[in-house]
Symmetry: C2
Subunit: 354 residues, 2 copies
């Protein structure tokens, strides 16, 4: 546990939840479930017992640093890694792991997004602990694979060979055969039926030696850039970061490491079923909220009359009265208001900028 | 013009426009038309040229005094009459007229609500000037009668005898035969067809001698109470007011003076057609707002997509996006939000308190 580290990626802008989520205050910093904790706070909460707070790291955009400090006051300030520019997940994760290795060369690391939801944190901790004991022993990359409950077309999939349990005394963990892009509906149906496809939740577990070696092998330029960033004199670290980081290749960890790693037999997955949702859209929020008898999910001081199938989030508003709405999204945040049919939610990003 | 005085009654709470209008900040103090002026400011504006600002008076609840001062900075502070309690229009008007008589015994007075709208202020001024020259010469009570454009059941009516133009060199002004309560639809249709029925707009014109004498005659107790309030020593006026005013009979000027006055042949009406509306509900606001090609009327930074027949008022909100609404009221003010079918607007008062 002393060597366990958690990296929370909190740089997203969450534009599909406008106006609840804005580029100034994105969804990971919002109490989107109305439970009294923001998504990033819930993310920290669910790792309780896996490692002490001093082993948490947050990678985020420089403009969110103050929000992170306020929402996670116990996080060591030097563990907030402030990206001067968004370069996708590979440079983000590389920087975190290079930084962790400096502090703890024996580190065993979990990387997680800040904005997902887990309904069964106990099972979550069991799975993470299982994966950590695997990467403690083996030079393996483990990605958590969520057992699919529907033919979802919005996620990438992980294909496993259910026969091969290799190199491991820890059951449950399987070698990844291949990563699959977001499928069309028919393919998603096929995946669901086949039983050996899992959702890629973007939660990764590895020891720091393995991941840094993999990045050196598959993305040597990024590895060199990270050496440059972390090996400077303390007085020059910040200017090095501003100089080097924005020039890093803009690439996801999936393309940079997972796919070539899988081809080399280095990537494993831990199938899991802990009520995970990426809360990527209003439909998934509606799904996770407690509903009234008319299937409305509402967060805030909301009074509903003759409303059904609505999802409402207005935590800032003093009072909201809705009458006669069926199947609408209603959201308010800091003086911006959206009322929109749920069937049109893919247009919200466009609404927010027009 | 030196003897013309304007009394603006601004004590209403406007609960049908919640949350736009609240008991803390009612509709007469709101820029409800989105024109840059509140209703009370528009009311003052439309009397420009009738009398100087030093002859304006505002009767309002004590809790709105600061709002009045802020919105009408040129109004003499001693002309804001702060009611310690709402006692309907008869005590309100009596107090104003008793106060005016002290300052100007030859005063010629117009009394008007603060929250009506007039689309043709020029014609309004012509009618008011006409009525004022009538009451300058005669001891008459003139009420402005709006020529009806529809069989409205929400207003009281004034019946006139179109033959009798009496006691007057000023044409247009007719003796009132009777006041009629809000009619049912069939009666309203009959009134409209008959041609000699007008809407009672609650705008009155008289000289101060006439109205004070009428109140003495028809409501002697109120008259005595007013004597008590205004004739005290300056040091005791306020305590007298707080002691006496809340005990005044709660009665409208219509019942207290107009109806008995009409029976005595003292009441006249000036038929008028200057685009008047009492803005009593959302339907009348929708009516007065400029509409887009889908019959939406909107005040504020509002973006509409596939919306029609909506009335939207959200001047406080930074941005409002509405999609897929037909026939709705949407309103925001100081963090309170209402979305409601227009057909259900009579329930808004109930929504606001539940």
């Amino acid at each position: 546990m002393r060597n366990n580290h958690i990296v929370i990626m909190a740089g997203g802008v969450g534009s599909r939840f406008w106006p609840l989520s804005t580029p100034e205050y994105p969804k990971q910093f919002i109490d989107i479930l109305g439970c009294g904790r923001t998504l990033i706070q819930l993310t920290v909460d669910r790792f309780k017992g896996i490692c002490p707070m001093s082993n948490f790291w947050v990678v985020t955009n420089v403009k969110y640093v103050d929000i992170v400090k306020k929402q996670l006051p116990d996080l060591p300030a030097e563990h907030i890694l402030a990206e001067p520019a968004a370069r996708n997940t590979a440079p983000c994760i590389a920087w975190a792991c290079w930084s962790i290795r400096q502090e703890d060369p024996a580190a065993n690391v979990v990387v997680t997004p800040a904005d997902a939801v887990v309904m069964n944190p106990e099972e979550f901790r069991r799975v993470i602990a299982n994966a950590l004991s695997f990467t403690y022993k083996y030079n393996a990359i483990v990605t958590i694979g969520i057992k699919p409950s529907r033919p979802e077309t919005g996620y990438g999939y992980i294909e496993v060979d259910t026969q091969a349990i290799k190199q491991s005394s820890v059951q449950e963990i399987n070698e990844v055969k291949a990563f699959k892009e977001k499928p069309d509906h028919d393919t998603a149906e096929k995946y669901l039926k086949a039983g050996n496809y899992l959702w890629n939740a973007g939660i990764f577990v590895w020891n720091v030696e393995t991941i840094t070696e993999c990045i050196k092998k598959y993305k040597p330029v990024i590895a060199d850039q990270m050496d440059e960033i972390v090996n400077g004199q303390p007085s020059t670290v910040n200017s090095k970061l501003n100089e080097v980081f924005p020039n890093c290749e803009k690439i996801s960890i999936d393309f940079a490491v997972m796919e070539p790693g899988a081809a080399d037999g280095l990537v494993y997955t831990h199938p899991a079923d802990f009520g995970w949702s990426d809360l990527g859209n209003w439909a998934s929020l509606h799904d996770k909220l407690q509903k009234d008898e008319s299937n409305n999910g509402a967060v805030g001081n909301i009074k509903l009359y003759e409303c059904s199938n609505c999802v409402v989030h207005a935590e800032d508003a003093r009072k909201v009265v809705l009458q006669g709405l069926d199947g609408y999204i209603v959201s308010e945040k800091k003086g911006q208001i959206l009322v929109c049919r749920r069937s049109e939610e893919q247009r919200i990003r466009e609404f927010s900028v027009e």
